[in-house]
Symmetry: C2
Subunit: 230 residues, 2 copies
DNA sequence: ACAAACTTTGGACGCCGTACAGCAACGGTG
DNA sequence: CACCGTTGCTGTACGGCGTCCAAAGTTTGT
């Protein structure tokens, strides 16, 4: 009946049955309308999915990160963590976001916020733009790796479960052909964990801090537990 | 007739017409057989695409990066650049790689190589595993951003052209609502450039270098032209 | 009350992935 | 050489897909 109901239905189907379930016909059935009624509100299926992606990105609460009291690194981390939660909440929809261009109003607003954040950090406009892009690449890359291989429906299993499953898979790696992989299997199994996400984020922020004026952050060199070198 | 011919045909169609063109029926027609003949060699369409992804990843030449004479940072950069070229050469196939799990032999070999590289850099096994994952996230994230929105066929336009097109789009950004975005539009237009790719890569490697023993690399703080802060 | 505008539907078209049964070529065994 | 089991391929069919068209229904303005 309205665009909103169509998007609601699409997201519901996407969550329950993955990308394959979000067909025009099923969406229409979910709304309770004939398939072609959808075309009254959207020119084609792609437009529905684009609008949905836009809505999901719009669900990120920006104002939280505007608090100038906090150190910029903290604020970027908070933003990155919130983005990850928002995206992984709808695994079936991740493909829409990583696969399409990010040029909607929500993307722009998000980007503007990020630019402000990096400007606060002391980066010039150009460096801030590059840093923002780098951060988005990291967030989207991480999330898409995280939900990769989820074709069916349902929410993502809890982190602990996924890590355990991955550990089981990796325990089968032949240590003669891939000795390093086999040796680091336990750490690798944690790739899709919040810990690894934050670890990578901190490495990136450390790399960016060198551009910012002098200060080198709250946590010297290692921000994650397993970061020690021999 | 053979699996190889099927994969050849699939890649050809993918290159020419994007993901939508790589249907089982079209692949079969390209090979010159009936559609269902494909199922003699692959259990379903997904298996074809998985095999194709595996083959593409296998096309990355590893031995180049084994040269211990070079500094590890140079070798990682070379690997990242080669990976980007390999992936962007087939825009329609990028979705297969970022959308599915990376657990084939080629992925494992690549990962093993990366672990070795970071071990050479002085990172412990666990940090090396985390760094490898971070790098892969960056590469795949960058590439998928780069080919995002390419639904049709044909190769990616030359970099310069894409940047110019993006610049034109961004020039329409209303500077009252998104002042920072509008101000940095020219830099943002270069997001999908090799320069930006290397810039981000260097930030990440800088962040990782802090973990490696003491040395801080060949290029102090800024590795890209526009990196200066006011 | 009537006309105009908008919304929804029934039906159809061509394409998709895939299952099943049958046909053609072939290698090994008598 | 004749036989036969295995393997590769085809013909055909089913249900689902995105989308178009003309017709029917509904709402709105006057």
């Amino acid at each position: 009946m309205t665009e909103a109901k169509i998007l609601d239905a699409a997201l519901r189907l996407l969550d329950q049955g993955g990308p394959a379930a979000a067909s025009v016909r099923r969406i229409a059935a979910e709304v309770g309308v004939a398939p072609n009624a959808i075309y009254t509100y959207f020119p084609d299926k792609a437009a529905v999915l684009r609008a949905l992606a836009e809505r999901l990105l719009g669900g990120v609460d920006h104002d939280v990160f505007a608090d100038l009291e906090q150190h910029w690194r903290i604020r970027v981390e908070a933003l990155a963590l919130e983005l990850r939660v928002t995206l992984t909440a709808h695994p079936g929809a991740v493909g829409l976001l990583v696969g399409g261009p990010l040029d909607g109003p929500s993307s722009m607003a998000l980007n503007e916020r990020l630019l402000q954040l990096f400007a606060d950090a002391g980066l010039g406009p150009d460096a801030a733009a590059q840093a923002s892009y780098l951060l988005m690449v990291y967030v989207f890359g991480s999330v898409s790796r995280e939900v990769a291989g989820v074709h069916g429906g349902g929410p993502l299993p809890p982190e602990q479960e996924r890590v355990a499953a991955r550990r089981a898979e990796l325990s089968a790696v032949p240590s003669d052909r891939f000795p390093l992989t086999a040796a680091a299997a336990v750490t690798m199994a944690g790739s899709t964990s919040t810990e690894q996400y934050v670890w990578g984020l901190r490495r990136i922020l450390a790399g960016l801090s060198a551009l910012s004026d002098g200060d080198d952050g709250p946590d010297g060199v290692d921000g994650a537990p397993e970061a020690a070198a021999p």
